[in-house]
Symmetry: C2
């Protein structure tokens, strides 16, 4: 590895973060009239006017601003903007009667969907904890704790372990099938690991650490493939593998055929998730001061699977998904998978000191900066063809916001700085 | 079955309950000076002066009084005495800082052991819920709900399912081995089923029902022997069977050798627990309005195991324990096992309409009334030889109180009334 090369990529990321990405958001996200954040922007960064404020997008914006302020960016402006969003989340989205946050509001702050969705609540814990760490405002950790308590009361399966995810407003479980009430997913358990990590970082409470250790155990022993250590997307109550279906409440851009099924519904893993899981696990161990040695082999297996199967050596970037045993089903490029693999590959270099992860990083970095970033606008295209032509072109949406992109830049810069220090 | 015979035994039980058992307690249990109940009495019913008010004994007394009042006994006197105990439990035993009830107080209401023990908390939920059902005092269900929430937050194992049981005051888990922090037990899960049943009966809250269904599942799929359906006493985190050991915090009269081990530490089941589990499960299904048909075979297997192995056909009564596959290790007679088998055998008659359970009931009934009851005093001897000579002679203690004896009489009278109505 060449120090100058690292420096050049690090500086490219820094320029993008500070002169394009953060300004894209800070210049247009503040809803002065109704509070909270405006989150829907077209290819040119113009507000599309969509009348939605989703729990995910509001909390992810709060995370982005808080984490960037904590990392030293923005000269205080980001903290102020974070407080603006925390006010809306706490004062308008909290359900005073049953507890928990509503899933979807309109811009004015009226409830559109009152259901309690754990995917969104994991981001509430994550962002509110980060907000208190970054700014000292005690309301963040206060509400993060409340959500944690509600999840422990209403969402655990005390028979088979793990967490249920889809609830009505009053925390009764939703029905089976596409309503999601009979499924347990990789997605939610991974994001609970992410959330409990930052919650514990903010609280240092024993029970937060204990539940973090347990969810790590669930991911390793139930959700990751026993041989390939790749993530399996969906399960039934007793952890038998479920056909991967589309839920009525969507939270991302997973693409399904018209009948709501995946073509390879029971043998499918997503490269972005695997790399994201590995670096989030590494971060959790670091926050807990836990021993990493026993996970080194796991990190190697996961990062190697990503490098061997997920990286497109011809056109650059990360494929969408493939079978657990290796290979690729879907060769298009999703923005968030690029973002997470960047961080994962740098963790691979730092943890395992193997140049192949650096080569993979450079590959994806190049693809992101040459193809994924919408030049002159500043955010990333959400979905591109294998070769890098944009398919979807919106810059912001309830399910496509700044959390992956900004976090990827902050975390990658940090890791490249650490890498150079070691040289 | 002969109706007159049933009537005679029913009236014998009624006389014992109303003229001996309840008066034994109501005449001496009220601590006028410090509040709560006096619970330590010698063979003659004299206060031994032991300076203890345990969470179990206080809550079990509250259950006894509340349930007897609810069943129509006492002309209001029992409800008043129940309120006296609820005041002490709520005002003196509740930990305002960390939540939950202290394990052991002195008579004056000072804390002697501040640990949070789930066995005791299951009785807190059970008795406080019964108290509200019986008297309408809303404080009972209010504190039962608080305890339920704390247990869901601090005690579940979200990886392997089930509940941890032994905690420090601040709800951090105690250490392994005799500290109990690495064990899961039949005892606690069975008493949580009992507690959640009455909690749900009082609250009709969906989450209370859901957790009740889950703990029934845990008992059937993890704790009961897969073939014999007999209860296995202790497990490790992942439900592998643990050698049955004695805990530092004791809650009953289980007898161990000097090294704190059972002679047959991994193949041991207790007849009283099995029958108690079965009738409590039947009660849970009834309270939920759930279908009993799918459990009929289970009831038959458990009751048959009790009849075939637990009943002493020579001297009468119920043995202590034996191997899962059949047979007996310990032929002494514990009071509480007689009490629970009485109810269980009557449920056997009512559910399965088989005369052999009635014969077993009569056997144990006779042994109780001829040998176990301390004549002229009114309570039961805690432990007797196989032939029925008293070994331990105290009438009351932190771990030997009125819950089994009074409940056994109330429940048996109810069942014999139902039996006669069907004839």
């Amino acid at each position: 590895m060449d120090k100058n090369e690292i420096k050049a990529l690090r500086d490219e990321a820094y320029r993008h973060l500070t002169t394009e990405l953060l300004p894209f958001w800070t210049s247009r996200m503040k809803d002065e009239k109704y509070g909270g954040y405006i989150t829907h922007f077209d290819e040119n960064g113009n507000d599309t006017g969509e009348d939605e404020k989703s729990l995910i997008a509001q909390t992810r914006c709060l995370y982005t601003l808080s984490s960037a302020h904590r990392a030293g960016y923005g000269d205080g402006e980001l903290a102020e903007l974070a407080k603006h969003g925390a006010d809306f989340i706490i004062n308008r989205m909290w359900d005073e009667e049953y507890g928990g946050f509503y899933w979807m509001m309109d811009r004015k702050g009226n409830v559109k969907i009152d259901e309690k969705i754990i995917y969104g609540h994991s981001f509430a814990i994550y962002s509110l904890s980060e907000y208190t760490i970054a700014t000292g405002d005690p309301r963040g950790i206060e509400y993060a704790r409340k959500v944690f308590d509600l999840i422990q009361k209403y969402c655990t399966d005390t028979m088979y372990g793990g967490y249920w995810e889809m609830f009505h407003r009053d925390w009764t479980l939703k029905g089976p099938g596409s309503a999601g009430g009979d499924r347990k997913t990789l997605d939610v358990h991974m994001h609970l690991m992410e959330a409990f990590t930052t919650l514990y970082e903010a609280s240092h409470e024993d029970v937060h650490r204990r539940k973090l250790l347990e969810v790590i155990d669930i991911l390793n022993k139930r959700i990751n493939h026993p041989e390939y250590k790749t993530g399996i997307p969906q399960f039934f109550k007793d952890w038998t593998i479920a056909h991967q279906i589309k839920f009525d409440i969507i939270w991302g851009w997973d693409r399904f055929s018209e009948d709501g099924q995946k073509g390879n519904a029971t043998d499918n893993t997503c490269f972005g998730h695997n790399a994201e899981f590995a670096w989030l696990l590494n971060n959790a161990l670091e926050v807990m001061g836990a021993d990493k040695q026993k996970y080194m082999e796991l990190f190697r297996i996961i990062f190697d699977h990503t490098v061997d199967n997920g990286i497109d050596r011809e056109y650059g970037g990360v494929f969408v998904e493939g079978p657990h045993s290796g290979g690729v089903y879907d060769r298009e490029k999703e923005f968030w998978q690029q973002a997470e693999v960047l961080i994962g590959m740098l963790d691979g270099v730092l943890l395992l000191n193997d140049e192949k992860y650096w080569d993979a990083y450079k590959n994806v970095h190049r693809f992101v900066f040459d193809k994924v970033i919408n030049k002159g606008v500043g955010e990333w295209y959400p979905l591109l063809t294998r070769k890098g032509e944009p398919i979807w072109t919106h810059m912001g949406h309830s399910w496509k916001i700044n959390y992956h992109t900004v976090r990827s830049m902050i975390q990658s810069i940090d890791r490249m700085d650490a890498l150079m220090k070691k040289m």
